[in-house]
Symmetry: D2
Subunit: 364 residues, 4 copies
C-alpha cells in the first residue's frame, strides 16, 4: 500500500499510462493451483469496458488481457493453473487517437491532477491524463478477477445506489436488476429515471456524481486484524484510491454519527454455530475484524471533471483563461466504478484471507 | 500500514492493552536534529486525556509519557534532539481498577470486538477491551506530536462539527472557539446546546455519534503520490483505523455524489507563484497529490457502544441473554477523537513529506 | 526489513541505545495461543548476557526482560498465552557507568560507526556506542526466543567454528560440547586451545575475529520463496545485520566457488516420503526454498574494534591523533554472537513459516 | 524485499518464466526528470546476453527491452524523461526451443529447485527452469541500468576474481582489462589461463564455480541506515538473491574472522573535508552506513548444476535413476553474474540514496 503497489500478502503493482503502449499489473503472492485463463479475467474487464452504452465514453478499447506469466499447463493437465509466481497481466492501448493535446498540455483542467502532477514531478504525460487516467483501473479489475478465485466462497456484488441527487428506493433493491441495465442500478424504476437524467446531462455537456455500494457475502468471521491492519481501514484505503472517489463509509457510515447508542447496537441472538446479529449497522466489521455478516461499503464518486461547460483556469504559464474539455468522457464516471469497487473489495479480502491463514493457521 | 505499524518512511508501531502494564509506540524514521522533550508530547496527550470534563470517561489516567530512546543531549547542547533512531514512547497504565470482568468476559457486547477477536484468535484480553480499547489512541497522539515537529510549516486543527443529529452552523465556524469548550466545538452557540444534549444523554445511560473535521493548512503542492500512495487514500486509511470510525470523506465528500460537474469544479485563477483555486471541493488533493489548498478531512464516529440500556446478546457459550455495560465510558467518543484525528493527519503528512523529499529531492 | 523493523509476517521492531533508559522490541504478527512467559525468554538472554566469563565484557547487565503486552492469562487459564497482538519486550539498562565519554565523543574510533553516524545524522549518542552498540542484539535474542516457540518442530543450534586463525576439527564437531565451555565451541580440544589464545589476546589488549555456524534441523521442505523472498537471502540479510559481521555463507558457501559441478551436486536417492540427499552442499536451500535438509549458515565476525593498542585517527574537528579504547570490551565479539545468530535464524524461519502457510495453506 | 519485489523507496518487481511469453519488471519510485531510452538499458543487457562467446549458453536470445511506461517525451523535449511513475520493462522470450522436457519434468535435477518448487507449490513450470531460471536476472540488469542513472556520481564495476580454484593475482588487478576478455577477468594473464580451463571444463561436460567482486566508487558518506536497514545487509540480501550464489562478503569479509583487532582497524588521517582511511577492511561500510570509501562486495557462485556427467537422482514418483542435463548451459554461470551483481549494487545504492534523502534531506 505504497506508491503503485497494493496489498501485503497478495500484492498488485500496476503500471502504464492512458495513451502509452500498454497498461497492466503484476499480481504477486497468489496461491498456487488455482485454475486461471484469460477468459476468467476478460469477463470482468468487459463489465468495465468503455463504449458499451451511450452512458460511457466512446473510446474504443477492446481491453483484451494477456497473461504473460504465473500460470502453467502441459498436456497432462486439464488447463492452466496458477504456479504461485507473479502473474503479469497486460492490456495494450489500442485506441490512442492521434489528436491535438495542446489544450490540456498547456492548461490546468479543474478537478484534474494536471497541476499537482506538475508541481510534484516537474513534468507529466498529459496525453489522455497519462498515469492519472481512470484507465489504470482496468488493471485493478483484471487483478480483482484473480483475487476472486482465491476466495471462492465469497460473493462480491456492486451497484450504483445514487446518481446525482437521485437515490434508489431501498425497498426495491434487487441484485438481479444490476446487470439488466447499463447503469448497474439495483432498482428497475430508478434505472429508467436515471437514464433520462443522464441523457439530459450528456446533452448539456455536464456530468453527475454517484454513490456506489459494494457488498461481500460469505466472509467468515475472523478476517482482518486490529489497529493498522483493519479490514475497514484497508477497504477505505482501497476505495479512496479509485479515481474521483471522495468518501468511503462502512455499514451505517456517516449516518452513524447521528445515531444513539441504542439505535446503533447490532443486537445478538444465538445462531447455532455462531452469533446471529439482528441488524448490520457495523457493516460486517467489528474492531477491524469480520463478524461473519455481509461486508458493506459505500463510496462517493465526484462528477466527471471533463465537461463541455467552460470553466475558468490558468495556463501552465499562469495566464488566466477558460477551458472546455472536449473528447470522449463518461457523463458519470461512477457507473464504471462499480466493477472497480468490486475488484478492490476482492483484492482486500483475498489479501486478508492469506494474512489470516498465515498468522492463525485457519483457512475458514 | 499493516497489522500494528502505520506509515512507510515514518513508521509508528504501537503496542499494549487497556489494562496491561503499559501502552506505547516506536516511531521509526524520524529525521535527526529535531528538538524534542516529553513536554512537547505531553501537551497533546493532555488534550486527549480522560476525566477532564463530565463529558468524558472518569477513568483516572495521567497518561504521562516517557521517551525511552531516540533523543540525545549532552552538556554542550541546549536540549535533547532526535537522533534519527527509533523513538520509543511509553505510557504506563495506572488506573487499572480491580473489578469484576465476568460480565464482559462471558458475554459479547454489541458494537464491540469481543466476538470477532475471539473468532480470530481463539482468546482475548477482555480487561477494559484489551487491545481493542480506544486507549491505544494515546500512543497515536504521542507519535503525532513528534510528527508535527517534522513539518513545522503545517498547522493541523480538528473540531467536532456534528454531535448526534446536531451539526454546527458553518457560518459560525471559529477555530478559536475549539479550545474554549470541552467539546472541541468551533461554534460557540452549538457548544452550549450540545452540552445540554450530552448531559441528557449521559443521564439516560445512552450515547451519541459525531462527525469530526480535521484541517491541515500550509501543506505545499506536491505531497502525496499517485495510485496506491494517494494522500487521500492514506488519510482514509488513517482515520478509518481510529476506533469507532465508520466513514471518511475528503473535501466535498459524499456531497460530491449529488453535484454536477459545473458545481464540483474548483475553478482556478492566477495566484502569483501558484494557481489560486476559487473553491475547495477537492479538499486540497487532486490525483492523490496535495494542491496547496487546505487539506480537509471529515470522519464519522459511531455512538459509544457501552451504554446502560440493556441490549440483547449471547454468552460465549451461545446462551441468549442481555447486557448492560457499566463502568466509565464517554457518552460521545467522538469528542476525544479530535486530537486522535489531528495526530493521524500529522503522521500521514509527515510520512508523505519524507517520501516526497526522497523521490523528488524537493523539501518544500 | 527496513530501518529498525525486520520480517514480513513476523515483524520485530527494536529500539534503544546502549546507555539510554532501556532497550527492547515490539514483535508483531505472532500467532495466538502460544504459552509464553518471561522465563522462556530469559533463558536465551542469559546465554548472551555479558560478564559471565573472563572472555566477555565485564559490564554488569542483568538483562532482565519484561513482557509489557501481547500475552494474557486469567484464573481459568493455566498460564499466559500470546494473544496475536504485539508483544513488547523491555530490558532496562542498569549498568550505565558514570564515566568520561570525552574521548569517544571527540574522536572517531577506527572500525566503529562514529564517523558514519555523524555523517548521516549530524549528531550521535556516543555513550557506549549508542544505537550502534551490540547491546541492541539483546532485543533480537528476546524476540528470537518467541520465534522459536512459533516453530516448535525446528531445532536451532549455533557454535563458534573458528576463532582467529584457529578453526575447529570438523571430525570432532559435537553439539553437546557447545554449552560445556564459555566459548560455544563444539570441539572440546579446540575450546581449550582457544581459551589460551583468548587469554593472551585479552592481556595484550588485542582482539580476535571468529566464524559462527548456525544450523536449523527439522525445517520441512517448502519454506522460503523464489527471487526476492529467498530463504537464503533473508538469512544473509539477517546475519549481515548483526554488529561486526562481514560475511555470510550458506552450505558450501565460498568453497563452492572452487568446486566442479560434479563435486557440488547433492545427489538424490529415495528417502521414503521425500528425496534423500547424499550430501548438503546446498545448505538445505534450493532456489530459495528449503529442501528438508539442515539449513546451514556461517557468518564471519570481525575482531572487536575496541582495543588497547593505540590506533591512528582524527578528532571530529579533523585533528590527527591516536585513540586507545579503554573500557569493558569482549576480546572476541564472535562468542556472544552465537545466541544472536540463533535468534536471527529463528526469526527468519518463523516469518517464512507464516508466509508459507499464508500463501499455500500448508502448515508443515 | 519480499517475494518478487526488491527495495523500499526504489522498488523492482519482476515477473516471468524462462520459456513463457516474456519476462520483465516494474520499477517503481524512480525520481522524475531523468533522461532514459531503451538504448541506455540495452547496453547493459547486452553485457549479460547469452551466446556472445563460447563460454556462455548458446541460447539465442536478443534480450531486446521495451519501455512500456514511465517515460515521456513530446516534440518540445529533446528526448524521453522519467515521469516518476512506474517504469515497466519488457523482454520477450524469443528462443523458446520446442524440445522434449520429459526428462526434467519427471526427474529432480541435483542442485536445481525442481524438488523444492514442487514441495512448496504442488506444481511447477519446468520448461527451462521456469521461474527459477537465471533468465530472471535479465530483468535485474534492465532495472539496474535505470538505477545507475539515479546516482550518476557513483561508478559501479564488477569482475570475476576467482574461477574454480584459480584466483586472480591482486597485483595485476586492472579494471581496464575486464571488458577486453569474455570472462570479465581483471587480470589479463589469468584470463588466458581461465579460457583454457573453461574450454576443458566445457568439453568434459562439467562446470566451475566462481567468485565475483563488485565495487562502487563515489558513494558519499552517510548512505545506509542502522540495524535492519544496513547497507551491507541489503547488499547481502541483494547478492544472495542472485541464482546460484552461496556466499556474500563485504570488505575483508571472511578473512576478517582470522584477523586481530590491530590488523583489522582501518586507521584514519585527516583528508581535508573528510576522514581519510588508510585501508579499507570495512569495505566502505561502518555500522551499516557508507563511509565514503569504495563499497566492496564479493559473492561466490556455485558451479552450474546442469552438467553432462550423470548424477544420481529420483523421479517425482520416487524411483531411483540418473540424470544428464543436456541443453544449452553456461560452463560457469559466474561469468554472466557480473553484470547482475553490478545491477543489484546499483539498485541497493539508488534505493538507499532516496531513503537517505527522504529522512535527512541531504542529497549528497
Amino acid at each position: 500500500m505504497s506508491f503503485n503497489t497494493f496489498g501485503h500478502m497478495l500484492r498488485m503493482t500496476t503500471f502504464g499510462e492512458s495513451h502509452g503502449v500498454a497498461i497492466g499489473c503484476v499480481l504477486d503472492g497468489c496461491p498456487p493451483g488455482i485454475p486461471l485463463t484469460e477468459a476468467d479475467i476478460q469477463h470482468h474487464l468487459d463489465r468495465r469496458r468503455p463504449g458499451q452504452s451511450r452512458f460511457t465514453t466512446q473510446r474504443r478499447e477492446p481491453d483484451t488481457v494477456r497473461i504473460l506469466s504465473g500460470t502453467f499447463a502441459d498436456e497432462r493437465m486439464s488447463g492452466p493453473l496458477t504456479t504461485g509466481t507473479p502473474i503479469c497481466l497486460l492490456i495494450e492501448n489500442v485506441d490512442r487517437r492521434s489528436k491535438d493535446y495542446a489544450d490540456i498540455r498547456d492548461k490546468y483542467r479543474p478537478g484534474h491532477a494536471d497541476f499537482t502532477y506538475l508541481a510534484k514531478y516537474g513534468l507529466r504525460d498529459y496525453r489522455g491524463g497519462g498515469r492519472s487516467s481512470a484507465r489504470e483501473t482496468a488493471s485493478r479489475v483484471a487483478a480483482g478477477a484473480v483475487a476472486r478465485k482465491i476466495i471462492p466462497g465469497v460473493e462480491i456484488r456492486g451497484a450504483v445506489v445514487q446518481m446525482g441527487k437521485h437515490a434508489i428506493d431501498r425497498e426495491k433493491f434487487d441484485w438481479a436488476q444490476v446487470d439488466r441495465n447499463p447503469l448497474f442500478c439495483p432498482d428497475a424504476e430508478a434505472a429508467e429515471k436515471w437514464a433520462d437524467v443522464l441523457d439530459a446531462t450528456r446533452k448539456a455537456g455536464s456530468s453527475l456524481g454517484a454513490v456506489i455500494e459494494v457488498v461481500a457475502s460469505g466472509v467468515p468471521a475472523g478476517w482482518g486484524a486490529p489497529i493498522y491492519g483493519k479490514l475497514d481501514q484497508d477497504l477505505a484505503s482501497a476505495m479512496m484510491s479509485i479515481n474521483a472517489v471522495k468518501g468511503v463509509e462502512i455499514g451505517a457510515g456517516f449516518a452513524a454519527g447521528a445515531l444513539s447508542g441504542e439505535e446503533n447496537a447490532d443486537e445478538i441472538r444465538d445462531g447455532g454455530n455462531a452469533p446471529r446479529f439482528l441488524s448490520n449497522k457495523a457493516g460486517g466489521i467489528l474492531g477491524g475484524i469480520s463478524s461473519g455478516q455481509d461486508i458493506v461499503v459505500r463510496f462517493a464518486v465526484k462528477p466527471t471533471s471533463s465537461i463541455l461547460s467552460p470553466r475558468r483556469t490558468v495556463t501552465t504559464a499562469g495566464e488566466e483563461t477558460e477551458i472546455v474539455t472536449k473528447g470522449r468522457h463518461d457523463p458519470c464516471v461512477g457507473i464504471r466504478a462499480v466493477p472497480v469497487g468490486e475488484a478492490m473489495m476482492a483484492l482486500v479480502l483475498a489479501d486478508h484471507f492469506l494474512r489470516h491463514r498465515g498468522q492463525t493457521g485457519k483457512s475458514g
